[in-house]
């Protein structure tokens, strides 16, 4: 498995897009922190940019990469290798290189400009989101043979997680505003890794006081030590389940 990971890594690094992504993130985070006079404001702007861009780049790049390596996958499948290892190596290579990009591009500046604990949570969330969306992309790429369809599914999934889902939750919230929905909100946030990441980061910042009553419920649940661990657990299970689903599909795929 190590050998295949090596080749996937080498191939991705030869691709200039990952380098461009790193520089892009670095430029954004540096400019945000240098424009704002206080780092907390800068962090908030950066948070919003990152929560849009990181999932988008991770999911689109990974989907296209999987489709473009169709030949590579075909070649490997006819060799004495386990399919599990081939798929796992692709996942490790993609998740590893994109995480590295994020770490250099956004993680470093955040660590430099902001207090330690917020910086750590922010970087951790960015990394988790990267890996989650790589897993989602691999699932999208494995369910259909058609490249255009696969990329379409990926874009739609990204749109869903970053915009549509929030709209849906808001809609439900307004429709049922007479009922107590706080518990529902906590559960709903677990269904969207981006929201969960956002909540965890906001709770670490002072502005969570502005989030009103629901914010207090979130604070109550996710603000505690055990709540935080549960939230991380949920994010990790997002990675594991999605990857497992895609692996199951890949194991039975005809090439």
């Amino acid at each position: 498995m190590k050998k295949i990971i090596k080749y996937v890594f080498a191939d991705i690094l030869r691709n200039k897009i990952v380098l461009g992504y790193t520089i892009f993130l670095l430029l954004i985070s540096m400019s945000v922190f240098n424009l704002e006079d206080n780092s907390s404001k800068g962090l908030l702007s950066l948070l919003n940019i990152i929560l849009i861009i990181v999932p988008l780049v991770s999911i689109i790049f990974s989907t296209i990469y999987i489709y473009n390596s169709a030949e590579f996958i075909e070649l490997l499948v006819s060799q004495p290798l386990k399919r599990k290892h081939i798929w796992g190596s692709l996942f490790t290579g993609l998740a590893g290189s994109l995480s590295l990009s994020f770490l250099v591009g956004a993680g470093l500046p955040v660590m430099i400009y902001t207090p330690m604990d917020i910086g750590l949570v922010m970087t951790g969330m960015g990394l988790l989101l990267t890996v989650i969306f790589v897993a989602i992309a691999m699932f999208a790429a494995v369910i259909t043979r058609d490249k255009a369809k696969g990329i379409g599914i990926s874009i739609f999934l990204w749109l869903y997680f970053s915009l549509l889902f929030d709209g849906l939750v808001l809609f439900i919230l307004f429709q049922f505003e007479d009922y107590p929905l706080e518990k529902f909100m906590v559960v709903a946030s677990a269904l969207n890794p981006i929201d969960l990441g956002r909540i965890l980061i906001l709770l670490k910042m002072d502005i969570s006081a502005l989030m009103g009553y629901t914010g207090a419920v979130f604070r109550d649940f996710f603000g505690t030590q055990s709540g935080f661990i549960i939230a991380i657990g949920i994010l990790l299970s997002w990675i594991i389940t999605t990857f497992w689903l895609s692996l199951r599909k890949f194991n039975r795929k005809d090439l």
């Binding site: 169709a70 030949e71 075909e74 070649l75 290798l81 005809d254 090439l255």
Partner: protein, 236 residues
């Protein structure tokens, strides 16, 4: 050596393989013939585990291949259309394959075919710049590279020039004399005349017959393989 038992595979509505059962033994050189779309490539791909059959099973040396993958180290496969990562050079592809299969038989590789094809001068060329014939040469060299016990060649001579085609045939004959199992699909039957010992004829996913070449000649009364097959095809 390879036993297929009632293997069936559907692609949507199309029945690519319909209850195919075959036994292939060491030392045989089997030609897999049949019209286009008769399921030859699908059958080969199911032996390699690239296509997962809907029902039935395939064993390799007595072991079911479903949960096995190591058996593939005994197989050299030359695909019909060799597809390789575009931005790798020929040399890199060779090195990668050697690296991946290095735990194979005593680490020795058989590069005579690559040498004869003159691929050694092209090692720095990227795969996407290669012509169809050169690609085929790479595929063929890779299939023979690890001195496998079983060779599966899907349309080996398609796209090769006469010289290269002759080199490949010589190589196949040489491997056959070492007692290996060789499975070939081809449309150019005259090329196979002096090579093969058995013949499998497929049509619309069904295996119509699996005979020794001598029996086929006797049954049809034709000496030439292509004419024998043609007479079978016309009779159906």
């Amino acid at each position: 050596m390879i036993i297929a038992n009632n293997v069936s595979k559907k692609f949507g509505k199309l029945k690519a393989l319909n209850n195919v059962s075959v036994t292939c033994n060491k030392g045989e050189c089997i030609a897999l013939v049949g019209p286009n779309g008769s399921g030859k490539t699908t059958f080969i791909k199911s032996i390699l585990g690239m296509v997962v059959p809907d029902s039935g099973f395939i064993t390799f040396n007595g072991k079911n291949i479903v949960h096995d993958w190591l058996y593939r180290r005994h197989i050299g496969y030359m695909p019909q259309i060799g597809r390789y990562p575009d931005n790798m050079t020929i040399g890199q592809v060779f090195n990668m394959m050697k690296d991946i299969r290095s735990d194979g038989k005593n680490g020795q590789t058989d590069e005579s075919l690559a040498e004869k094809f003159g691929l050694n001068e092209l090692l720095h060329k990227r795969m996407r710049t290669l012509s169809g014939g050169t690609r085929q040469k790479v595929s063929a060299s890779l299939a023979f590279l690890f001195d496998p016990d079983v060779l599966i060649l899907d349309e080996p001579t398609a796209g090769l020039d006469p010289v290269a085609s002759e080199i490949l045939k010589e190589k196949i004959t040489g491997e056959k004399s070492k007692g290996k199992l060789i499975l070939i699909t081809s449309h150019v039957l005259s090329e196979l005349d002096d090579l093969i010992t058995h013949i499998i004829y497929m049509q619309d996913g069904n295996l119509l017959f699996h005979k020794k070449i001598g029996d086929l000649q006797k049954d049809t009364g034709e000496q030439k393989l292509s004419r024998a097959i043609a007479s079978v095809m016309l009779k159906k």
